[in-house]
């Protein structure tokens, strides 16, 4: 299986896109679970008043090839980014860099099939989210990313 795509969808549409791309059955479990892990990671922050955006981003990646996603962040807000994968044994990460490429996050963690990073931007502007499958038993690993702000 070789796919390289970047989807930005609500949950149901993400499911539809993946179904089309990879055939029904396997895709459902994959995106469903990746999203579940990301949203599970979000729960503590939701309790602290973060609003989770109801759109999700995702795709699949080979291990060791980080993917940058540009994002406009606003000083004054606080953000959490949550990443999940359905692949047991995979190690994933998400980190936040500023427009000059400097690590900008205030906190990050990795736990099993979940990873997250928190940032309170010092400036308004462009930031880069770097999502990565650091290691995986699979050739390509499906991931999903959600974020919240307050």
């Amino acid at each position: 299986m070789k796919r390289d795509f970047f989807v930005k969808r609500t949950f149901l549409a993400a499911f539809a896109v993946l179904t089309l791309l990879s055939g029904a059955g396997t895709a459902r479990g994959t995106i469903d679970d990746a999203l579940s892990f990301a949203l599970e990671a979000a729960q503590p922050a939701v309790k602290e008043g973060f609003t989770v955006r109801e759109e999700y981003w995702g795709g699949d990646l080979p291990a060791g090839q980080p993917k940058p996603i540009a994002h406009q962040l606003f000083k004054g807000n606080e953000y959490w980014f949550w990443m999940g994968t359905d692949c047991k044994g995979a190690k994933i990460s998400v980190h936040v860099y500023d427009s000059a490429g400097k690590l900008a996050e205030d906190e990050f963690w990795q736990k099993g099939q979940k990873a997250a990073a928190r940032i309170r931007p010092k400036r308004t502007g462009t930031y880069y989210l770097l999502v990565e499958v650091e290691k995986s038993p699979d050739e390509r690993t499906v991931w999903s990313l959600a974020y919240g702000f307050r």
């Binding site: 609003t51 955006r53 940058p68 540009a70 606003f74």
Partner: protein, 273 residues
């Protein structure tokens, strides 16, 4: 972004992060090593309006009724699908201003306009529930819920368009919302200028993202006066939003950004010839 660009980009990043693998992230990545064509404009997360308004809430209490552009009647669809998509984005953004102004009648009017414009481009079903909720919550003056429903209306309408293979129209909805949102933001900042406020307008990646998307759309759909005008406007405001950071955006530049966006919003709302 084509496959070659992505490969080059991934290689650059792999090199740049090679020393910082495992649990400890690299202290820096080499953005300059991104291939020139890899502007990342296709892989940009466009914030929902609530993110901007969340910051504005913390900055003080602007005079929102003054910023609100009152709609006496329902928005009437005019022009082709491109123009109506832009109008829809503008109307939804106006909804956020109406919420800030706590103007229930205006919010209800906007909810009905969203329904009318959505119908004209075949996505009414997707947003009908949201439009109803907007009107219902506005009646009860539950502003936080109205704001959430407006965010979701924007998401739903874009999603419905993508399902109809109209991703470019979905982009136009976002663009319309961004233009009116930026105009409103500039207006608020200009009325009580502060560096922190002006910095909120430092959004070069979004201006560039929309410019590239619009260029692609213009190329595909032939000459369209409205799209050409917006393209020109984006090129005007892009340098005013600051290059390195937003700390140097002046009051004059804020006014210029607001004026240009205002002209583009007027063009979007103008009756098609």
């Amino acid at each position: 972004m084509n496959e070659r660009t992505l490969c080059a980009l991934a290689s650059a990043l792999t090199l740049a992060t090679a020393t910082g693998h495992a649990a400890t992230p690299a202290k820096s990545i080499s953005v300059s090593q991104f291939p020139k064509e890899a502007k990342l404009v296709e892989q940009v997360i466009v914030p929902v309006p609530s993110e901007v308004f969340a910051v504005l809430d913390k900055l003080g209490k602007p005079n929102w009724p003054e910023v609100l552009r009152s709609q006496k009647n329902l928005a009437t669809p005019t022009g082709g699908k491109e123009q109506i998509s832009l109008m829809l984005g503008v109307v939804i953004a106006e909804g956020f201003v109406a919420v800030e102004a706590e103007n229930g009648d205006e919010v209800k009017n906007i909810g009905n306009s969203v329904r009318s414009l959505s119908k004209a481009i075949g996505v009414e079903k997707a947003v009908s529930r949201r439009a109803n909720s907007i009107v219902e919550f506005a009646d009860k003056r539950r502003w936080a819920e109205v704001r959430k429903e407006l965010d979701l209306a924007l998401t739903d309408v874009r999603q419905a368009m993508m399902e109809l293979n109209s991703e470019s129209l979905a982009q136009l909805v976002s663009l319309g919302g961004w233009l009116r949102g930026t105009e409103a933001l500039a207006s608020v900042v200009a009325k009580n200028f502060s560096r922190d406020g002006a910095e909120l307008l430092h959004q070069p990646v979004l201006a560039e993202h929309f410019r590239v998307r619009l260029e692609l759309l213009s190329g595909n759909s032939g000459k369209d006066d409205l799209l050409t005008k917006i393209l020109g406007g984006l090129q005007t405001i892009r340098p005013l939003m600051g290059t390195e950071d937003g700390s140097g955006i002046t009051e004059k530049e804020v006014r210029e950004i607001g004026k240009t966006c205002g002209e583009l919003v007027s063009a979007v709302n103008a009756k098609a010839k």
